[in-house]
Symmetry: C2
Subunit: 270 residues, 2 copies
DNA sequence: CGCTAGCTTGATCTCACTCAATAGCAGTGG
DNA sequence: CCACTGCTATTGAGTGAGATCAAGCTAGCG
């Protein structure tokens, strides 16, 4: 199986969206039962799109913001910096994630948001979100739910750092990403593209790149999983999940329905 | 200065609430500008109160819930257990915190909620919250904001585990608790009651109780802070915050107004 | 072709863990 | 009243997982 290149991360062959318009908008999590009007309201709330190059900072800590970004293509992260300049990632976002919906109620963020790869986002002005909130209670609760999912993931990241050792952390993270990518059709369950360096992985799991390298070798030797360049191939998902103590319940996929099922949002107005 | 005993943690002398009714309800975070009718709606949504003894589990992971709990007195925690049975705390709740408002949209939790001390909560049925959500957009956003604050705190807990060493973690945690207790009038800025054992502190900071003991000795020797029994006395707040790289911005106190200023909610109906 | 970013491997060091022993204190029961 | 139990805190000695430092290796790219 040949997997697509990093530069197109998250870009399905069947959704070659023109840059100017968001034609197909994927929401990979939680947008469960939406009526046509709710879906329309969401599409209408989009004021435009923006593109980021790999490594670019999209939102800076403490800066007041009045829009929120939904990731359409590529991979983005949330991160903080320690005093010595070391970076730590506290979230990894995949296509369909509402990257900083948090900003809608917070008004400014306590962390940076950056693009890990080239990325495209759809822009939702808070003014529009407020309009949704005052007229679509059900949709509002779905959006609220999305931010709670982020919180649930944060808790798992805490668990990962607090309770797992190096190899278990990496295993847990790979399982999480695999599961989330499956939900948006970017993993077949065993193989996917992960455009992260070993330094990035270290910043997720709080390990040095040197140690990440050793851990990945162990995963190879134990025939659990291959991570080379940006290709991840899981050899034994069950044992990998077992090793990482990965329990996907926190992703709430029972409620969350992939957009693939929901269909796409059609933006009609500019 | 004599500080009150643990058994009364969070109980102000001036708010001796009868058990049967929530007369004075404190919300220590974020409930900023609420109209009288919004405050009334919130009070009306309370169906009753409940009490927990120290150590009791209030909500168990995975169990469907249809009410959310606002902590009125005492201290509660959110926690998960690793496979080997080790516990890790991922949040500490103080009087005024909406402990599991998350459950309103999530319907079941990915973690346990437990009482660290004897605790009293006010109960909000989700049915009532849904009514609020469909009629009070502003109030809804305030409640949403509360859950986002939790997420912001989660991120700081990730930062703490990822980027700080043992003594820095403890320093950071003590600064956070001090700041949050100040907001509800339970710390004078340098001295407060913290009904946690060294085992508990270890479960917050991912350290063994043995190492917590050594770290607390260091904090004593460096004349930063005294932690004995349940009494915490901060000797040099500036240096302690510096050590823990503590930046209170993530608590969003600029927006969050202590209830002390807002006044209390009066429950009129049963 | 040389340069740079990313990856690998080895040697050494250190922070925090483990194991173990002791002491203080509260509660309980004889 | 003391003896006993269990919980909490303290201190010491030995250990180990992962960090640090350093040297090569590989591959993509101008």
């Amino acid at each position: 199986m040949q997997v697509k290149a990093c530069s197109n991360f998250g870009k399905h062959p069947f959704e070659m969206t023109p840059l100017s318009l968001v034609k197909d908008l994927m929401i990979n999590r939680s947008i469960g039962e939406l009526s046509a009007s709710e879906r329309q309201a969401l599409a209408d709330a989009i004021s435009g799109t923006a593109d980021f190059v790999a490594g670019q900072t999209a939102v800076r800590q403490g800066q007041p913001v009045d829009v929120s970004l939904l990731l359409v293509e590529g991979m983005m992260t949330r991160q903080v910096y320690a005093r010595d300049g070391r970076r730590h990632l506290m979230d990894v976002h995949l296509p369909g994630d509402f990257v900083d919906l948090h900003a809608y109620a917070l008004k400014k963020l306590d962390h940076d948001v950056g693009a890990l790869t080239a990325a495209k986002v759809a822009i939702f002005p808070h003014r529009e979100l407020a309009r949704i909130q005052s007229t679509f209670p059900n949709l509002t609760r779905q959006l609220w739910f999305l931010t709670l999912l982020d919180a649930a993931m944060h808790r798992q990241w805490i668990f990962r750092l607090a309770s797992l050792d190096a190899i278990e952390r990496i295993a847990h993270f790979l399982c999480e990403i695999n599961t989330r990518l499956m939900a948006i059709g970017l993993s077949d369950g065993n193989r996917f593209v992960l455009p992260m360096t070993q330094v990035d992985l270290g910043e997720v799991c709080s390990l040095t790149n040197v140690h990440v390298s050793r851990v990945l070798r162990q995963l190879r030797e134990r025939e659990l999983c291959l991570v080379r360049a940006s290709q991840v191939e899981i050899l034994d998902l069950r044992r990998l999940a077992q090793l990482g103590q990965f329990e996907p319940a926190y992703l709430y996929f029972n409620r969350a329905i992939s957009t693939r099922a929901v269909g796409s949002l059609q933006k009609v107005s500019t």
